[in-house]
Structures are given as C-alpha cells and as structure tokens.
Amino acid sequence: MGTPAAQGSKTANQPPILELQHITKRFPGVVANDDVSLDFRPGEIHAILGENGAGKTTLMNIIYGLYHPDEGQVFMEGRPLNLEGPHAAIAHGIGMVHQHFMLIPVLTVAENIVLGSEPPGFRFDIRRAAAEVKKISEAYHLEIDPWAKVGDLTVGLQQRVEILKAFYRRARVLILDEPTAVLTPSEIEDLFQIMARLKADGIAIAFISHKLDEVMQVADRITIMRRGRVVRTLLPTETNPQELANLMVGREVVLQVKKSPYRPGPVLVDVQNLVVADEHNYPRVNGVSFQIRRGEILGLAGVDGNGQRELIEAIVGLRPVRSGKVLFAGRDITGLSPRQVSRAGISYIPQDRQGDGLVLNFTVAENLILKDYNGPQIARRGRIDFRRVRERAQRLVGQYGVAPPNPSLLAGNLSGGNQQKVILAREMGLAPEFLIAAQPTRGLDVGAIEYIHKRLLELRDQGKAILLFSLELEEILSLSDEIAVIYKGQIMDIVPGDKATREGLGLLMLGARKSA
C-alpha cells in the first residue's frame, strides 16, 4: 500500500521513550498480562497484535494509569514511572484513544478536549478554550469545529476529538486502541495518513489491533500477544499475514471461511419501504426495502449508527414501524409484538448480548427458556415444568459446547464466547425459519468466531434465511450471499457477495449511490 506509514522507519535505532518491564496483571481467575516487556520509540508505529482477550487493552490501560500492575515497572525515558492514575500518565506525555470513546456527547468539542486541563482560573473561559483547541487542531492538521456538540459528530470526527485531546495535553506517546474498528474504509485511510504525519513529528504510536492487513500496512514493528504473554516481536518485512494469524491464535488458522455454493430458494422475507424512528422520534430508517430468500445470507453493511439497529428492532417488534411493511412467508408481520414475531419463526441474536440477550443473574438454564418459558414445551397452565427446563438445558449445553457445561451456573459467570453460545443455542433451539444476527461475533476470540460462522452457514444450507448485520466488513464479505449497504437509513445498493469489494462497499457506506 502506498501510505507513507508503510515506508520503513528511520528511527528504529533511537532509544525507547517508553519501556515496560516484566508487567504482570492478574484479575480474579485470569492472568491478563503475564511478564510482558515491550518498548516504544519516537517516530515509530509499534503494533500490538492479538485476539480479543489477549491482554492488549489491559496492558494499555496499565500504561495509561487506569490499572495498576501487580508486578513490573513502566519506564519513561529511562526513569521509572509511578502511574497512580491517568492524570500522572497525562503529565508524563502519554495519551490514549480508547476503543470506546471517552467523550461526553452533550458537551462541545472544545469542552471535551480541555476537560480536566482547562485554561486556569475559577471561571471556565470557554472562548479561550475554543481558541486553544483551534490552534492545536491547525498545528496537527486535524480540522474540527470547537463549538460543535460532540454527540452530533460522525464517528471519524469523534476519533479526531480524542486524538486532539491527547495532543492538547502534549502527548509524546499516543496509544490507539483498536482505532479502526468503528471506521469506514476511507476513514481508515485518513487515520493512517494522520498516523504517518504524527510519526514524522516524532510521536511514538502504539497501535492496538487484531486486523492483520492493517498491521502489515502501517506498523514499523509488530508485537504479537496471546493469552496475556508476548509471543514474539518482529518486523513486517520479515513476516506475512498467515504467520501472524498463526502466532496470534496459537495454531493453524484458516483465513477463509468454507462456504457451499449459493442456492437461493423462494423469497421468505420481504421488507417494503420501512420507515422507523428512534426514541426521540427522529427517523432513522427512511424507506428501506429488501428481500431475503431461503438459503441466503443477506449481509447488512454500513457504518455504525446508520439505522441498522432501528431497522432490525422494528422487524422483530421491539420498535414501532412508522410506515412500510414486513412480509414473512407471505404474511404481514408488521407491528407484531416480539413474542408474536418469535412465534412466527423468527429468531434474533441481539448485538448487545449482555444488555438484551441475557439476564446475567439468571442461570444458563433460565436463559435458555427466556423466549418460550410459557410455551407448550416448558409450561403447563402458567406453571413452569422445571424437569423439562433441566432436560432442555442439558441437551443444548452439550449440543452447543457451552463451557463449563453446567446449566445451573449464572450466565454472568460465563465468558463472552460462551454467553454468545447460550444465546445461539436458545435462538437456534426455537427452530427459526429466519434468523437475524446482529454483530454475532463482536468481541469474541477466533475459536468462537469460527464456531458461530459455521453454525450460521449450516442454517443457511438448511434453507433458512439469515440477515447478518456486522460492522466488520471482512465478516460480511466472507459470509454473505448478497450485501445490502445502509447509509443514513437508506439502502444504497444491494450487491452480490461474490462481486463485492472492500473499496466498493466502502464508497457505498459513505453514501455514494450505485457507483460501485
């Protein structure tokens, strides 16, 4: 790739600005970081590559003073640092852009940037704050309106606010935690340009990612972490994506999903001109139409917040439909309640598995009956038959490989992957004709992702219809038979999965209609 960032580092021989030595951090039941030693040099992009749960974010939070290491020491320019909190890290020139933005939507850009390091004085001098933000943003070529409300900005611009926050505090080390996860392809290119400029300015950048191609593209050095340990540090020139993947996961990984040929059946789901509003009565879905056939996975691609959630929630009955229709097997299901939708044969894996999909303080067995606890299989005249609940739980836990295989554990005590398996087991157990999967693999490790992909494809091969909403373009591309791109609540285009390209979808995701 032609970005400046990819051109070899000339500063690799400089002494490190930030050094970690033998960092160990334990949480109840896990060792998140196990004897980790690393360094970061000025003018260098050092990528930390690892799966979800490999301990990357914990490590960065230690550098930023949010966690305290149980053992080991952080050094800045050779001096040991006592990081008793983020304010200490900030004072030493460490800045961090968190995966989940640390922004306050109701405040302005200027207020967000200066927060905690405001211009001195008892009064808050908002004009001076805005002027200083303007100056910084010009100095770093990161244009932004200081007076805009952060909640009104696009995700890309919000990230820019986060970066400016670090430089307002004179950061010399910048930690970017999964910065590309929420961006469109072109926003990612922008970010890489910015990183290249910062590198030229002598900033040390820690780039946290689990995406191989991005790391290969921008990193000067790559450190791979697995299960809290550093596996190896190497240069991009001496490795390849396959090797990185294997190191990351600890075994041979198949980078491509195996998929049987697309054999579309009759149309099962027919969404016609759907209009849906959000909680504040603001229309988020503006006349969406698409069809899904039996034996088909329709991928829904788009930048987060373009109406995907509202669209899906309207289909499953969690949100009122303003106008338009949803036909399912020829039947009008618009405006049915969630229970009626579920009984009609539609299952739904929600994107927020802990918030919507599970009751964490219920046992696994109870979570498995969350949707049909009053159905004929479980209940008799308002009474729950616990023998049947246990039987079902035992069967599903075994069938879906939930670990530990104990249905009387609380769902909250399971790992993210196993929680998702519980949801999957419940939703598949309802024998749906149509499955809606919203970000079904978000935050899971490679093993769990593979498992869920396999199950989705099985369902498709059985002739069921699937609507897959994901923010991971790779996931959409590898699973979908057809891809619908949504932008500002409208479908820009629907393209066949085998003809779609990253770049083409990226343009559509930014609202370029039918240009792909």
Partner: protein
C-alpha cells in the same frame, strides 16, 4: 367565583408561595448538584430533618440563631459525607442508602427531641433567624409585598439559585461536575478525580438540604417537630426532575409546588375539606412527573456507581 378571585388577587398568596417554596428550592438545587455528578440523593429528606433539629438545638443552646444555622449545616454536612461515602466509595445502592439515612434521621431526631428536650418539645424561647423589613422595599407595588418581610434565608436562597447556575455552567469545577455525571470514565481518563467531584456534589446537596431544614425550624418557626419535613425532600427531587436538572428550572418547579402549598392555605378556610386541599402539593408533584415523563433526560450516569481503580 369572587372568593377565588380574592384568593388569587391576594399578594399574601404570592408571598407565601415564595416562602413555602424555599424548603423545596434549596434541596432541589442541592439535588441538581448531586445528580449532575451522578449521585441520586434521596437522603435529602433525612438531611433536612437533621438540619432542622440541630438548628433548633444550637440556636436554643447558644441563644444565637446564626450558630443554630451553622450547627445545622455542619450536622447536615456530616450526614451527607456518610451518605456519600457509602454511595460513592462503597458503591452501595444509592436509593437504599438514602432510605437508610431517612429512617435513621427520622428516628434520631425524634429520639434526641425526647432525650434532650423531654416531652414538652423544644424551648419556646428558641431564637429564630431574622425577617428582613425594609420600608423602602415595602413601598414598591407587587415586589414589595412579595419580597419584603421575608426570612433572611429567602434572600439567601434567591442568591444561591443564581450562584448555583453560574457555578454549574460557567466555572471549571461546574464543567467537571457535569462531565462526571455524564460519563465518569471519560472524566477519569481526562485526569479528573471522579470520587472527589461526586463528594463535592453530594456535600453541596447536604449543605443546601440542611439550610432548608433550618429554614423550617428556625426560619419560619422556632421549634422542631417530629418528621416536620413531610416529604419535602422527595418533592424537591420531583422539582429537580421537572426543572431538568438545572438551577433555574428547579427553582421554577419548586415555585410551582410551593404555590400548590400556598394555595391550600387560604382554600383550607374557604373550602370545607381542608384535608383534601392539603393533598394538593403531593398531587401536583405526581401530575408534574407524569407530564414531564420521559421527556426530561437525566445525566447519563445518574445513579450509577463508579469504580475507579481496578
């Protein structure tokens, strides 16, 4: 009809609206600060009671109402700090801890009333805070009868509302308080001590509630009665919600509830069923809450405990 007209045309009604609003305005303003930093403070009811009791206690002990006021604020502050410690540091359920404080305060003040003053109640010669009377103010139409000859705490309250607005929206500390209530994690990563800010918010609400309690016991009366706050702490919370967590909004809403109380006073004599009329402020509170419904948006992290260090 003419009876009603006489009631509404009576300046006395508006003056007593103002005077009856004070013990709602102060805790509503306090609740605004507490909830803006993310702590739901139901304990204001109990802190008011504590304030009311200790105001009388110190006032009668020293025969100086100002010492009484100071004693009320200190006692209320202590109560607020204990509440804050449990709510912030121990991450206890804020509503339950608030209930605990309310039950404790109700019991303690009644217990101390009996223990210290016996069954005759507080001394009749307890000095009360002065009412201010300026002849020049009295001569101004409308404003005169409204503002003149009120307790000094009424004027202090009006000043505090304005100061509260300035503090919350135009100072660095105010900005930080609002940030902590919206997203404590973001504030923490910006180097702000979330706990300290929350303590400050709760402490302000404690001081203001104690002032309100002192107003009840040595501002308009010179005695303490068991459970004399009568749910004003809860009504103040409703006023704060109705006022959208802003000082001026809370002030306006508290005036509305104060008006309902003031209205019930003349109605009590002109309408037979005074007990039904006395329900008015409570009914208005419920109606206001129903009316404002989901439209009033609380600070995003309101009521959510924050764990800083892991």
């Amino acid at each position: 009809m003419s009876g009603l007209l006489a009631i509404f045309g009576n300046m006395q009604l508006w003056a007593s609206t103002l005077s009856l609003s004070v013990p709602l305005v102060l805790p509503a303003l306090g609740g605004t600060f507490s909830e803006r930093t993310g702590v739901v403070n139901i304990a204001m009811e109990g802190i008011m009671l504590i304030g009311a009791f200790f105001a009388v206690f110190f006032s009668s002990l020293t025969m100086n109402p100002w010492v009484g006021l100071l004693g009320a604020v200190v006692a209320g502050g202590i109560m607020a700090v204990i509440f804050a410690w449990a709510a912030i540091r121990l991450r206890s359920d804020q509503v339950i801890i608030g209930m605990a404080v309310n039950i404790f305060a109700s019991g303690l003040t009644a217990y101390l009333l009996n223990t210290i003053f016996g069954f005759g109640g507080t001394p009749v010669n307890t000095p009360m805070l002065p009412h201010l009377n300026w002849p020049w103010l009295g001569r101004i139409p409308v404003l005169g009868p409204l503002l003149n000859d009120q307790s000094i705490l009424v004027y202090i309250t009006l000043l505090l509302v304005v100061a509260g607005h300035f503090f919350l929206f135009h100072t660095r500390l105010g900005l930080r308080m609002r940030a902590v209530g919206e997203n404590p994690e973001a504030a923490d990563t910006a180097g702000i001590n979330v706990y300290r800010i929350r303590y400050l918010g709760v402490l302000i609400s404690g001081f203001l509630s104690a002032l309100a309690g002192a107003y009840l016991s040595i501002g308009v009366l010179n005695s303490f009665e068991v459970d004399m706050t009568n749910g004003r702490g809860y009504i103040a919370l409703a006023a704060m919600i109705f006022g959208r967590w802003t000082p001026f909004g809370s002030f306006g809403a508290a005036l509305l509830f104060g008006f309902a109380s003031a209205l019930s006073m003349p109605l009590q004599s002109s309408v037979a069923a005074k007990n039904l009329v006395q329900m008015l402020p409570y009914v208005v509170t419920i109606l206001a809450l129903i009316g404002v419904g989901g439209k009033s948006v609380a600070p995003a992290a309101d009521g959510v405990p924050y764990e800083a260090e892991k």
